[in-house]
Point group: C2
Amino acid sequence: MANAGFRESSVVFHPAEVNAEMPAVTEKSPFIAETSSAAARAVRGELHVALALRHAGVLNVALRYEVQGPANAPVVFIAGGISAHRHVSASGEFPEKGWADELVAANRTLDPSKLRMLAFDFIGSDGALDAPIDPADQADAVAALLDALDIEKLHAYVGYSYGALVGLQFAVRHPQRVGKLVAVSGAHKPHPFASAWRALQRKAVALGQLQCAEQQGLSLARQFAMLSYRTQEEFGERFDAPPEIVNGRVRVAAEDYLDAAGASYVARTPVAAFLRLSESIDLHRVDPAQISVPTTVVAVEGDRLVPLVDEVALVEGLGTRGNLRVVRSPYGHDAFLKETDKIDAILNSVVNK
Amino acid sequence: MANAGFRESSVVFHPAEVNAEMPAVTEKSPFIAETSSAAARAVRGELHVALALRHAGVLNVALRYEVQGPANAPVVFIAGGISAHRHVSASGEFPEKGWADELVAANRTLDPSKLRMLAFDFIGSDGALDAPIDPADQADAVAALLDALDIEKLHAYVGYSYGALVGLQFAVRHPQRVGKLVAVSGAHKPHPFASAWRALQRKAVALGQLQCAEQQGLSLARQFAMLSYRTQEEFGERFDAPPEIVNGRVRVAAEDYLDAAGASYVARTPVAAFLRLSESIDLHRVDPAQISVPTTVVAVEGDRLVPLVDEVALVEGLGTRGNLRVVRSPYGHDAFLKETDKIDAILNSVVNK
């Protein structure tokens, strides 16, 4: 562990996690020996670093990470959408459901008994960092985390949605630290239509904030976001029932689903986290010509947020470093989490190459 | 004028408009003789009828109409989206801009010097009728208006968006009163995804109402609606500039445009009118097999609200009475008001047939 020499940063380890974070020590521990074979060993940690943010100056940020897999295995960093987090998949140590359990598993390309899977909570996701956050800042945070964990180079970075944008930024800013990049459902810049859609979600929050209904605003914002993550086709199949009139108001078939989606999001998301990470997507801009890392772009036909044409433009800009894979799915932007067989097949051809 | 014999209705004419509404009288007037040739004669009127609403019982509703064109010419009823109104096109009498000036004009199929163009304000559009309004109610209101104006049968009904839904209902309920129907950007039922989108707009209004910020809620609702009326392609071309950070918040390129669209809508739209007409779209349901009137369905490829596949299903249901025309446009649902050359060419082949 190289935290002692980490530049400008104050590193805070939770005492209970110190052993787990130190592979040099833990490899000699009988406890680790017992679990380091097929069963993946998962550990969590938290450190604080001073990070020079592109739009907000130097600020102290928390890096909360989870790593799962053999200590000496190639490291794969995985990052999801703005509501994803460090807990990618369930493990013996952390048995709760992860956000990508179907992709990070023993029978998958991203097998935590063979690869060391690393993920973190995006900076700003705790709501404490209430300032404009550029995806470039997230990329620097990833680099700071690698420094702290003494990981010189990632075997691969697999990013989906916002995580793909951060990966593209990482490839531009820290090319020597990643062998290959997989960017799923993310392009070199946000589409203006999607940016408008997000701006209105943020306005819904602002409307709620006018008078102490912040959570209702956030719920509405999330419900609007859900429409951008999914497709007409899915809604057409699921919610074809005629509307009801309830208390003199028309209520359509999808409203129960959307209400529930909004409520569950509000329960787990600080308002500032949503606002700052939503903004962050709109601040994203990368020149594909500046990316030297071999990059596989996975596009989903029918993605309402990230149109295929933008991903084609990204791959064109990448030239010989770029490779485009297209997935058809009724799940649109959320296909990464739904079409897991198709995604795994692509990852297999890239990550294990 | 047959208002004397109009069943169940209290008819109120504005005194200043009485002459104008009586073609039998005005035809003899020297003033009319002067203007009844190429220059279209436009008149407005208002009457009140008791209407049996499908979901709200018998209520008194206002019928505000405008008619333009020679007294004995074939009558074409024209109806637009929920924010359209009786003033379709500018005239000598009412020189202000109409909502379909590019389609109802001397050089167009809908030439008010040759056809008698009739339109009305949808019931509920004044905000006074605050109850669930079925599109079938609007169709009955059109029939009541025809009774009052002594128009036995329309040569054609041309409806766009909500106006198309009302036209389909009219064809089911009053088939003997219309020769042909043109339904642009409207199907036999709303798509569940579009219904969800509208439901969230209504929630934005409700959130505003919670805050005593009803108008901000309505503005936000309209802005969300704008995204459904337009396309990614248009936004991609118009709003490709990077965002700015204003007072510590990210502001994207489309926000000025959307703010202005919201403000102008709020200035002309009662909140109850928006809510009840938005709901009305979701209450729409028609069995195409019940339509006996020859019907041309005009679909716009890329319409986010009314997917082509639904209009294909409608035309399939119409059998030999149906005819499908497809327009390609970057303006999506708003193509009717933007692709006026293409729409006029279609109207020419249908209305003048």
